[in-house]
C-alpha cells in the first residue's frame, strides 16, 4: 500500500499539479487587473447596445456573445469585475483588518476585554450569513457603501475568531513570556512579537474570506438585492440574463463561470501557498 501512495508524485497528476500552481495565481492576477484597468481593454462600451441580436452566441465579433439588450457580454463581464472584485476586496480588507486588530488585542490584553468581545462576536456567528445579508439589505437598502459594510460586518465575527485563536496560540509561547518578563508594553508585544507570526494564517484567511464574500455578494445580486441596475456585478449579470437560460445563451453561463474561475483560482492558490491544512478549522 505504501508504494501506491507515492506514485502520485510522479506521472500526470504531478504535471497537472505543477501546472495548476502556475495558472491559478495567474487567473487571480488577471481578474485583479481587469477590475482596475479593465476599461482600457474592453472591446465595447459595456452599456452600449450593439448592432446584434439578443442572446447571440459566441462569435469573433462578440467573443462571449450578447446579452438581453444585445450588449457585448465580454465588455460587461470586464466591467462587472470592477464591482465584484472591488466590493469584495474592500469588504474583505475591512473585515480582516478589524478581525486581526481585535483578535490581537483580545489575546494580548485578555481578561474582561477578551471575554466581552469574544462572547459578542461569537453570538453574531449564529446568524447564517445569507440571512444576515438579507436582514441588513432589507433595513438599509443596497447602495454600494452599504453592501461593503454589510459584507464586512457579516464576516468580521468569523475573521475575529480565527485570528484570535491564532494570536492566543502565539501569545502562549515562551518568547512572549520572555518579552513580558522584560517589561515590554502590550503594544510592542502585539506588533513585534505576535503579529509577525500570524502572517501566514492571516493571508490564508484573507483568501478564504474573499471567496465567501464574492459568493455572498453574487448571491445577493442574483436575488436582486445586491448591486442595483444600471450598475452590474457578475451576480447581477446572471440575474438579468436568466431569460436566456432556455436558449443556453452564454450571457447566463459566462458571468457565472467568471465567478467560479475567480473563487476556484483563489482557493487553489491558497492551497499551494499555505498547504491544504490552511482551510481546515476556518469557518
Amino acid at each position: 500500500m505504501n508504494s501506491a501512495t507515492f506514485s502520485v508524485h510522479r506521472g500526470p497528476m504531478a504535471i497537472l499539479a505543477r501546472l495548476s500552481r502556475m495558472i491559478m495565481p495567474a487567473i487571480v492576477l488577471f481578474w485583479l487587473a481587469m477590475a482596475f484597468f479593465g476599461h482600457w481593454v474592453a472591446p465595447y462600451d459595456p452599456a452600449g447596445i450593439q448592432d446584434a441580436d439578443l442572446f447571440e452566441g459566441m462569435s469573433r465579433k462578440f467573443w462571449l456573445g450578447t446579452d438581453y439588450f444585445g450588449r457585448d457580454m465580454l465588455s460587461r463581464i470586464i466591467a462587472g469585475a470592477r464591482y465584484t472584485v472591488g466590493i469584495s476586496l474592500m469588504a474583505t480588507s475591512l473585515a480582516v483588518t478589524a478581525g486581526v486588530l481585535l483578535g490581537l488585542a483580545a489575546s494580548a490584553i485578555g481578561g474582561f476585554f477578551d471575554t466581552a468581545i469574544s462572547r459578542f462576536l461569537d453570538a453574531l456567528i449564529s446568524i447564517p450569513s445569507k440571512m444576515f445579508g438579507l436582514v441588513l439589505v432589507a433595513a438599509l437598502g443596497a447602495s454600494i457603501p452599504v453592501l461593503v459594510l454589510t459584507l464586512a460586518v457579516i464576516y468580521l465575527p468569523g475573521c475575529y475568531r480565527i485570528n484570535r485563536s491564532v494570536a492566543v496560540n502565539v501569545a502562549a509561547l515562551d518568547f512572549v513570556a520572555v518579552a513580558r518578563a522584560r517589561g515590554e508594553s502590550t503594544f510592542y508585544i502585539m506588533i513585534r512579537e505576535i503579529l509577525p507570526n500570524m502572517v501566514g494564517p492571516v493571508l490564508a484567511d484573507f483568501g478564504l474570506r474573499f471567496i465567501y464574500v464574492v459568493l455572498l455578494l453574487s448571491s445577493l445580486s442574483f436575488l436582486g438585492l445586491g448591486v442595483q441596475p444600471p450598475e452590474a456585478d457578475w451576480g447581477s449579470l446572471v440575474r438579468e440574463n436568466m431569460p436566456g437560460l432556455p436558449y443556453g445563451a452564454p450571457a447566463v453561463i459566462m458571468p457565472a463561470i467568471a465567478i467560479a474561475s475567480l473563487t476556484i483560482a483563489v482557493n487553489l492558490t491558497i492551497d499551494s501557498a499555505f498547504g491544504r491544512h490552511a482551510r481546515e478549522g476556518i469557518r
Partner: protein, 595 residues
C-alpha cells in the same frame, strides 16, 4: 544457533515536504538470537523507532521500506502482502509504544483492547482471553487485576497503563516484542516500577525483544546487546557489558560520557555572605481568586528558599510538582498570592507591572524549549540586541559590538547574527537563549529545564557553558530540572519539590550520604545508574510505593499515600515542617528517624 531476528542492509526512505525522498535508514544490519533483547540506542533522528517498526513490516505515513531484508524466524517480512502482515503483527511480533495514554483507544474499555489481538488472530475465545489477561495483570503487579480491565484508559494512571500495554502485547505469546521507549514518558519513580515489571516478564517468558531508547542507563538494565545508531547508520554493536566497559566507537564514548555527567567544579568557595534571593511563605497558583485571596488551583504552598550570591540552586521534582511555576513566580509572570520574594534585600512586587525596569533586568528567565522561546520571525541580532536597547539604550555600532561579545561568550559564530532561529540547530538555539538573558546583565538567572529537550551530547555542552558562565560572570542561578544527574553535575545546593511543597533542601555533597526525606530517598534511588545490575541492587526497587500523587491538600503530608514510613494519625493530619538533619540537610518529615 540461527538468530531469530535477522535484519540485513535495511533501507527506509521518507518523503519530504518538497517532494523528493531522502534515506533516513541507510543500510542497517543486526541480528537477535532467541531469548535475547537487543537495545537500539540513539538520539532523535537516529532512525531507531523507524527500524523497530520496520520489523513489523510497518512504515509510518510518508515513509517506506526501500530495500534490504527483515527475517523473523522463517518469515521474510519484506515479502509479505497485506494479509500476511496482518497475521504477523500482534501475533508473531508485538509492540509496546512510548505513550500508553495515546496508544489506548479512549472510547473502548481496557480489557477489550488488551484481548483484541488474541481474538483477531483466533487464538482463544473471549472468556479464555480475559482469564489470561487477568493472569498477566497479576504478573505485572497491576493493582486490582480482576476489575481494572473494565475501566477506560483515562481512568488509569500512566505507569499502570504502560504495564497494561505490556500485557496487551504478551497476550498472544508473541515470538518477538518491540519496546519503543516504553518508560520515557514516565517520572523516574514510576519508571523503576515499570522497568521492574518488564524485566521480570522478559526473564520469565524468555522473550526475544528489541528495546528502543535514548537512555543508556535504562537499556543497560534490560538489553543483552546494544546497537548504537546515528543518522540512520550503525556505529557499533556490542554486548551490554562490553559497551559499558570499553566502547569502541568514538560516538559511543560520547554517549557514555553524556549519560553520566561529570561533576563540574563549582566556582563558589567557602561560605557566602547575605543571600541574593530569598523567598518566604510564598503560595501561588492559577484560576479565579477565591474569597481567601487564594487562587482556585494552588500549585505552590509555603515555599521557603534562599540562594547565596554566586550559588547555583537545583530544583528537582516530577512533572506537575510546581517547579516551573516557581520560576514564573520569581520572575513575576505568575504573581504570588501570598509571601514575599526578596532580591538583594529589596522586596519585589508580585507582578511585572509593579516592578521597576531595573528589577526586571536583574532577573532573567531561560526557558526549556528554545524553539518556542525564540521568536521564529526575528533575526538573532535583534533577539539578543533588544534587551540591550530596552535596558541600556544601546544603538548602532555599540549594540552590534555587544551582540558580538555575547555570541562569543556563548560560543556562537558571529555569522548567525542575521539568521532566523529556524536556521539554527537545537544546541545553538539554546545558546542564543542564554545570550539574550545575559544581555540584560542579570544578577539572577532562572533556568527552566534548559537541557531537557536536547540530545544528551548537546546537553552536556550546554552544561559546560553554564559552568563557564558562572565562573566568568559570577552569576547566581536557579536550575530547574526533573533530572537529578544534570542538577548534581552543576549545582551547589539542591531543593526537592513534591506536590507543591519543599520536602527537602541539601548541599549537593550530601546527596549520596545522610538521612533523606522518604520521597527524596525514593527519587535518588530511582535514577538508573550505568551498570547492568542496578535494577536488582537499588534499594528503591524494593520500596513498595503505589498510587499517584494526590491533589495538593492542606490536611497532611502530600507524600503520605505513597510513603513506606507513613504513620496514620500523624502524617495525614499535619503538614511536617522543614527540620534540620545532620549533613546540612533540612527535611520535612515526622518520621526521619524511623528509617
Amino acid at each position: 544457533m540461527e538468530p531469530l531476528i535477522d535484519i540485513r542492509d535495511l533501507r527506509i526512505r521518507a518523503r519530504t515536504a518538497e517532494g523528493p525522498e531522502i534515506e533516513i535508514v541507510k543500510g542497517v544490519s543486526f541480528s537477535v538470537r532467541r531469548g535475547e533483547v537487543m537495545g537500539l540506542i540513539g538520539e532523535s533522528g537516529s532512525g531507531k523507532t523507524t527500524i523497530a517498526l520496520a520489523t513489523m513490516g510497518y512504515a509510518r505515513y510518508g515513509c517506506r521500506i526501500a530495500g534490504g531484508t527483515i527475517r523473523i524466524g522463517e518469515t521474510e517480512v519484506t515479502r509479505l502482502d497485506g494479509k500476511g502482515l496482518q497475521q504477523l503483527r500482534g501475533r508473531k511480533v508485538a509492540y509496546i509504544a512510548q505513550s500508553a495514554a495515546a496508544s489506548f483507544n479512549p472510547s473502548r474499555p481496557i480489557m477489550a483492547q488488551v484481548i483484541e489481538s488474541a481474538l483477531i488472530h483466533g487464538l482463544m475465545d473471549e472468556p479464555a482471553a480475559r482469564e489470561k489477561a487477568i493472569g498477566l495483570f497479576r504478573a505485572m503487579a497491576i493493582p486490582h487485576p480482576e476489575t481494572i480491565g473494565n475501566r477506560y484508559p483515562h481512568q488509569v494512571s500512566g505507569g499502570q497503563l504502560q504495564r497494561l500495554m505490556a500485557a496487551m502485547a504478551l497476550i498472544t505469546d508473541p515470538d518477538v516484542v518491540i519496546f519503543d521507549e516504553p518508560t520515557t514518558a514516565l517520572d523516574v519513580t514510576t519508571q523503576i516500577e515499570v522497568l521492574k515489571a518488564f524485566k521480570e516478564a522478559i526473564r520469565d517468558r524468555n522473550t526475544t525483544g528489541i528495546y528502543v531508547t535514548h537512555d543508556l542507563a535504562v537499556i543497560a538494565q534490560i538489553a543483552d546487546s546494544i546497537t548504537v545508531l546515528r543518522h540512520g547508520e550503525v556505529q557499533e554493536i556490542a554486548t551490554t557489558p562490553a559497551l559499558l566497559a570499553s566502547p569502541a566507537h568514538e560516538y559511543s564514548r560520547k554517549l557514555l560520557a553524556a549519560a553520566e555527567p561529570a561533576l563540574r567544579a563549582s566556582p563558589v568557595t567557602g561560605e557566602t555572605s547575605a543571600p541574593l534571593l530569598r523567598v518566604s511563605g510564598m503560595s501561588a497558583g492559577y484560576g479565579l481568586i477565591g474569597k481567601d485571596g487564594m487562587p482556585a488551583v494552588l500549585v505552590l504552598r509555603d515555599i521557603e528558599l534562599t540562594i547565596g550570591r554566586g550559588h547555583a540552586l537545583g530544583v528537582i521534582g516530577e512533572s506537575g510538582c510546581g517547579k516551573s511555576t516557581l520560576a514564573r513566580v520569581i520572575a513575576g509572570l505568575t504573581p504570588a498570592s501570598r509571601g514575599t520574594v526578596t532580591l538583594d534585600g529589596v522586596d519585589l512586587a508580585p507582578g511585572i507591572a509593579g516592578r521597576s525596569r531595573e528589577q526586571l533586568r536583574e532577573i532573567q528567565l531561560v526557558f526549556q524549549m528554545a524553539d518556542t522561546a525564540l521568536n521564529p520571525k526575528v533575526p538573532i541580532d535583534e533577539i539578543i540586541g533588544r534587551p540591550l536597547t530596552f535596558f541600556f539604550g544601546m544603538k548602532g555600532a555599540e549594540r552590534e559590538r555587544r551582540v558580538r561579545e555575547l555570541l562569543d561568550l556563548t560560543h556562537l559564530p558571529a555569522s548567525v547574527r542575521d539568521r532566523l532561529p529556524g536556521d539554527l540547530s537545537g544546541g545553538q538555539k539554546q545558546r542564543v537563549n542564554f545570550a539574550r538573558a545575559l544581555a540584560a546583565q542579570p544578577k539572577l538567572l532562572l533556568c527552566d529545564e534548559v537541557t531537557s529537550a536536547l540530545d544528551t551530547v548537546v546537553a552536556a555542552a550546554i552544561l559546560d557553558l553554564m559552568v563557564e558562565l558562572r565562573r566568568e560572570l559570577g552569576l547566581t542561578t536557579m536550575f530547574i530540572s526533573h533530572d537529578l544527574k544534570t542538577i548534581r553535575a552543576i549545582c551547589d545546593d539542591i531543593m526537592v519539590l513534591y506536590s507543591g511543597r519543599v520536602v527537602e533542601t541539601m548541599p549537593a555533597a550530601a546527596l549520596e550520604t545522610g538521612h533523606h526525606h522518604p520521597y527524596a530517598g525514593l527519587l535518588l534511588g530511582s535514577v538508573p545508574a550505568l551498570r547492568t545490575d542496578w535494577l536488582e541492587t537499588t534499594p528503591a526497587a524494593s520500596l513498595q510505593v503505589q498510587g499517584v500523587p494526590p491533589a495538593l491538600s492542606s490536611g497532611g503530608c502530600a507524600f503520605f499515600p505513597r510513603c513506606p514510613r507513613a504513620e496514620p494519625g500523624l502524617c495525614d493530619t499535619a503538614v511536617p515542617p522543614l527540620r534540620p538533619v545532620p549533613g546540612g540537610i533540612e527535611a520535612a518529615c515526622f518520621r526521619l528517624d524511623a528509617a
